[in-house]
């Protein structure tokens, strides 16, 4: 319950806004509200969901979509690896961790990594379940509202809703990314993404991600003594 209460506030406003944008995006692509809700319920990792819808809209193959979503969401692996030992308590069956892992996403992870170490171990899993449960519910509601708004508000406002997510993730990268290799990777990706899109809309995302990411990693690591 404490987790549920903490979730209400700035994190849920930002998250709600971005899923509002996702609902609007799905509407603009011509899919139904059920697709929007299904994606949020089963994926619940927004960058991958947006990549999926955008790639679907340009007619990319399932293979390309699967690889792009997989690469975009690979960050969930180190996040889960670091979160689960903190949530672990004696006597809790293993399947509960597999269940809760579906709710590992940036907002809840940041909060849990900050708050949980100070708690008794038995309280941590319920805390995370409460926190993530509220965020997940807000995401579903916001997806639905965003889809509904996109069809009924004036056209400029719909454009604004669809524009929320590129702006949101651009700002998150600007605000959070410090390590030199990651900054380089993001800058090179931002240049390479649109450029490669002109050559190959279907493969541009994968190519830009792998080439720019690898270049950023190699160049950044060599120059940065902290890495």
């Amino acid at each position: 319950m404490a987790g549920a209460r903490r979730a209400v506030g700035v994190p849920s406003i930002v998250l709600g806004g971005s899923f509002l944008g996702f609902g609007a995006l799905v509407h603009q692509v011509g899919l139904s509200v059920w697709h929007a809700l299904f994606s949020t319920a089963t994926g619940w990792a927004l960058p991958g969901q947006i990549a999926l819808v955008e790639l679907y809209a340009v007619g990319a193959s399932v293979l390309v979509i699967a690889i792009a979503v997989g690469l975009t969401n690979a960050r969930l692996f180190p996040m889960t690896v670091t979160l689960i030992p903190i949530l672990r308590a004696p006597g809790v069956p293993r399947w509960q961790y597999y269940l809760i892992s579906h709710f590992v996403a940036v907002t809840g992870w940041v909060a849990a990594m900050r708050d949980c170490p100070a708690m008794v171990t038995e309280q941590r899993l319920p805390y995370y379940a409460g926190f993530a449960g509220v965020l997940w519910s807000i995401s579903m509601l916001a997806t639905w509202v965003g889809f509904a708004l996109a069809g009924s508000v004036p056209a400029p406002v719909t454009l604004g809703l669809v524009f929320i997510n590129p702006i949101y993730f651009m700002l998150v990268i600007c605000a959070d990314v410090r390590a030199r290799s990651r900054v380089l990777a993001a800058v090179l990706g931002a240049i390479g993404g649109p450029a490669l899109y002109l050559l190959t809309p279907e493969w541009s995302l994968l190519l830009a991600g792998i080439i720019a990411g690898s270049l950023g990693y190699l160049i950044g690591r060599r120059g940065d003594p902290h890495e």
Binding site: R88, Y97, A186, Y197, Y217
Partner: protein, 120 residues
Amino acid sequence: MSEMALPNALFWWPIVVMVVGAVATYVWRALGVALSGRIDPEGALFQWAACIAYALLAALIARMIILPTGPLAQTPMIDRVAAAILAIAVLFVSRRNVLPGIAVGAGTLVLATYVRTVWF
């Protein structure tokens, strides 16, 4: 027959794609549980994977702002880029607080589009 099948396929095919996407997402979470505590998340492979994820996300964002598909493509590029630059400026003025940045970024595009439809 084929006319009847079309709407059905249009509904179910995206669902299939989304199931594939959900699997490609959950695999990482499950793998994270399976290997938690037994692997160092600061290792070189993770750093490389993080770089690819950031580059891919940045590529997608830049493409959505500079070369959007759908209705966003009808807005002039100068409006979208100006809105993005303003959003970044607000982010750093507000001590890396994303909320005002999002509001200004999206708000600028709405306002610019509205002004163009009314006055031009």
